[in-house]
Symmetry: C2
Subunit: 597 residues, 2 copies
């Protein structure tokens, strides 16, 4: 049946061995107290919580879903108790600012806990994930007064944040929003408008819900430059900071969705609700991007978590399922058939899933590390270097991890045969729950446009050069004979990426359609190369340690890496040609010829 055990050994490998987190943490003042022992204890406790409290609610939460009754939303059985456990354990403020009651743990560590959360129960996890983004936004953009009032109860989980952007006519194109904010003259605002697809917009988990809402002031310039940001609580806050009377915030409906059924996706109507402004007038979208960038990495990790639990569950099935004989003769002669992992094609699927999961774990940690450096490092140049990498890699982390995470759930489901299609095994839920991660928080097509247009084209490859330089510095260390295939292939892939980048920058300068035409294939090419870098780092370490290791961990790492190198990375060949095919192929057909009358 469904199975989840937090992959602590692999997490420790990534954290301590591949990226030497202990050295980094010791080198920065804000993280000096995070010792390897503390990190290990946190991950172990996180594993217990997610394996024993959240995972058992995953299938039942999907079957039951959320219920909407007269404006109220009821989460599935057990969610409230699990949320209580999460809050009381201090997990809601794990990465929060210690000045306001957060635990101050580095991102590099919290991404691993986030993976456990999503793996064990993706629908449930969206409630805390949105709160994390909301608190980060407030910590970055709100006044001290607001932070003092809102952050402590949000870090405690008593209050919980949301993110209100989309309107029925305005999703990707936020410049079109119509929600209005009228100043009342006392420093507060009256917010009126209808928001849709608000994750956790209403529910029964916390005593108050803190909505972060994009709206337009009366004097707003048109488009995205006229958007401001407001904090609108579900219940108004009393003088003593307790939740008081109801604000004019109403849940009109919840969506019926393909998956994440335990997560309430709400229509939220602001019917003249009282709100306060966060940050500057008309600068709300920039502030919201603090939250969106956070959520983008988080949603990437949703893809990873679901890929991991899908792998583990599929292997649990594979172990018991006997069908046919190995091509080279019975491996299990005393039984009527062999376990299905004797079949090369079943292994191919399992290795695909695993190679991407382990690559994603390393990549998410790498991005988390850059986030920590960009925030906490004392050296300006180092911080800038890391911040540029974060800008470059965030769309890749969101889109590539979720695309590969979805593929992983589909491929894991395939390993089951017919059982994978039946609800009781859980495999099909992972597919449905993973699918949304490719769509929300900016579709993966939008992420690709962000990468290709804003992060590569706009600065003529400047950020990319920082990345390739880092990779080449690593390659210079790959002097051992058994790293030669990696070093040669990775150098060739870097050249391919650079050539393609140059071609697109050139073509895009003449015709802006070239950028969009290349975007998704380019993001996939970039992701494959970035994962090859992650795998090369992992394999190099594993090669150095394999001989002295009897557990088989490093030997397996080398084998899975080899699968990535030989049977996955060649996808770049196709992507290169597809990108170089250019935009004309896409743009020639008349728009009308697409539609079916």
């Amino acid at each position: 049946m469904a199975k989840y055990k937090a992959p602590l050994r692999d997490m420790q490998f990534v954290l301590n061995e591949v990226f030497e987190a202990d050295k980094l943490w010791a080198s920065m003042e804000a993280t000096q107290e995070v010792t390897p022992d503390l990190a290990e204890a946190i991950l172990e406790e996180g594993a217990k919580l997610t394996e024993h409290e959240l995972f058992p609610l995953n299938l039942s939460g999907d079957a039951e879903g959320c219920r909407f009754e007269k404006g109220q939303v009821f989460t599935p059985k057990g969610f409230k108790e699990a949320y209580q456990a999460l809050s009381e354990g201090g997990w809601m403020g794990l990465g929060g600012n210690p000045e306001y009651g957060g635990q101050g743990m580095p991102k590099m560590l919290t991404v691993l806990f986030e993976e456990m959360l999503y793996a064990s129960n993706a629908a449930f996890t969206l409630y805390p994930a949105l709160n994390n983004g909301a608190t980060l936004l407030l910590d970055s953009h709100a006044s001290d007064e607001i932070k003092e009032k809102y952050l402590p109860p949000m870090y405690e989980g008593r209050w919980i944040g949301t993110m209100c952007l989309t309107e029925p006519h305005s999703g990707t194109d936020l410049g079109l929003i119509r929600t209005k904010a009228e100043p009342k003259g006392d420093g507060t605002y009256t917010i009126s408008g209808n928001k849709i697809w608000i994750t956790g917009g209403e529910h029964d988990l916390a005593e108050n819900i803190i909505h972060l809402v994009l709206a337009k002031l009366p004097d707003a310039p048109p488009g995205t430059k006229g958007i401001s940001l407001f904090l609108v609580p579900k219940l108004k806050i009393n003088e003593d900071n307790s939740p008081g009377e109801a604000n004019q915030v109403n849940c009109g409906a919840i969506e019926h969705k393909m998956g994440i059924k335990g997560s309430a996706t709400c229509v939220i109507n602001f019917d003249g609700a009282e709100g306060i402004m966060i940050g500057e007038p008309h600068r709300g979208l920039a502030a919201m991007f603090t939250m969106m960038n956070y959520e983008r990495l988080s949603i990437g990790i949703q893809g990873l978590g679901l890929g991991e639990v899908a792998y583990q569950s599929a292997m649990d099935f594979a172990k018991e399922r006997l069908q046919s004989r190995a091509p080279t003769g019975p491996k299990n002669p005393e039984k009527p058939a062999d376990p299905i992992l004797v079949h090369p094609d079943v292994r191919r699927m399992a290795l695909n899933v695993r190679a991407f999961n382990e690559g994603s774990r390393a990549f998410a940690s790498y991005v988390g590390m850059q986030l920590d450096i960009s925030k906490y490092h004392e050296d300006d140049t180092t911080r800038k270097h890391a911040a540029d990498l974060v800008a470059l890699l965030t769309p890749v982390a969101k889109a590539f991890i979720t695309d590969r995470g979805f593929d992983a759930t589909v491929e894991a489901q395939q390993i089951y045969g017919g059982s994978g299609y039946c609800t009781e095994w859980g495999a099909e839920q992972y597919v449905r729950d993973a699918r949304i991660a490719q769509i929300y928080e900016g579709t993966n097509g939008i992420q690709a446009m962000d990468l290709m247009g804003r992060k590569v084209f706009a600065n003529k490859g400047e950020f990319l050069n920082i990345f390739t330089k880092d990779v080449r510095e690593f390659l210079a260390e790959c002097t051992s004979a058994n790293m030669a295939p990696w070093a040669e292939t990775l150098e060739a892939e870097l050249k391919r990426l650079e050539n393609v980048t140059e071609a697109v920058i050139k073509a895009g300068s003449e015709n802006p359609e070239e950028i969009g035409a290349a975007a998704v294939d380019y993001l996939n090419l970039f992701g494959l190369v970035a994962y090859a870098y992650m795998w090369a780092r992992m394999v190099k370490l594993a090669q150095e340690k394999a001989d002295a290791d009897s557990s088989g961990f490093y030997a397996a790492k080398i084998q899975v890496g080899n699968h990535y190198l030989k049977r996955i990375l060649p996808r770049t060949l196709a992507l290169e040609q597809q990108i170089l095919a250019g935009s004309e192929v896409l743009m020639t057909l008349e728009e009308e010829a697409f539609y079916v009358e």
Copy 2:
């Protein structure tokens, strides 16, 4: 919202222009009465039926699902009336043997009607699709007496067939089945055993259900050579051929599934039921393959149908959805934003879907044509040639069409953004309904093993050579300058396919694991090349006719073909490398290292 209109123009193009069905039909006695007018009238009536009777029940059938109560299964509201309409219109026997009341229409025509069925309502269509396979099996393997008794009511839809293979411990590996058949001495048998995943095993649509059941006789040799085939009716048949008392056939449960929720997937218990043998003792699996091969092409068409309705629905959405501006400036300046098809990446997705749908339609028709030739042609060599092609292409038709059909539903869903994840739009149902087609009727991994092992390796590429010879005969006709890119690329792709084939045959002779290691990538490579052949044939015709055509049909065909050539076909580059990576990469990791403890 969801939209479906049978693509009659494209169907006519494939049937009459690309494959010149009229000439073929006129040349064979069994199909001489099928004129182009008759074919057109059938497709037009089929379009009306599927668009107006079946499609409106698609979303509601998914929401309601089948209901199981005390051994009875109730299909969703409206299914019974729709089934009545299908039966009364003579559609249940459309491809059936005229000697027993069938309509005798060629496969090349019925595949197009099947596409309409699956597109309009995949869950519903499984009931008639199974009946088609069951009647084909009986027509091919049963005695005249049995045919006279069973075929007419089955062609009328009064009785409906099923296919009972799988048992809880025995899916892919049918040699493991335990269902027993004891001879009663009067020529009938007592059938005892438990079958699972029986599509339409029990329901309220027809007055009787005719189960075709694999079981073992008491003296059966072990494995697949000891399997016999039995016909077991739900209600015993009276002397006057009316359904009589209940047989010992009981439905124990229905499955809760990811999709095709209107199709009842049943646990069927044969508790000493009365049955008759079809064909020879211990030769049941061979007979069942007549049905399975039929169903494999049919399930391929499920992928196509869902890809088509997903495309149409997504384009209906795209037409209305305004978000952002075209990269080259507003196309729709009087509105607040442009329709999303101005964005190159949205077009990329739409063209991917469409290029595969149109390729699949041509390919399914091509296989249908070979089936007709193999059955009806008077010349032995021509029949043999076609039968070999059918053997080669059937696993490709099943697996490649359903894999690309699933991709199509996912990519179409992506075009919607968040709406694609919400149930009301229908897009997410297409994904769920398409997913099963990659799993049942032999998983796509099993199809790939059939292609690579039995259809290519076992005969050292003999069937493949028939195919490549046909393609090269066509290429010899591509003498016009504007076909040069097609002719060159296709010849290069044929060579790539031949080289890879040779390499796998060589490697597989030394190590049987090489066959399974190559299988899925090989099937995908084969499929891409086969579709390139289909596209080349379509584009050649379109180029010849485009100038004289004001409808834009041929111009669009050339453009979509160009997208296939430039932005899809390069995937062969990656597949080639993945195949040549061989089996060692997959087989080295210890089996235990896959499992998570």
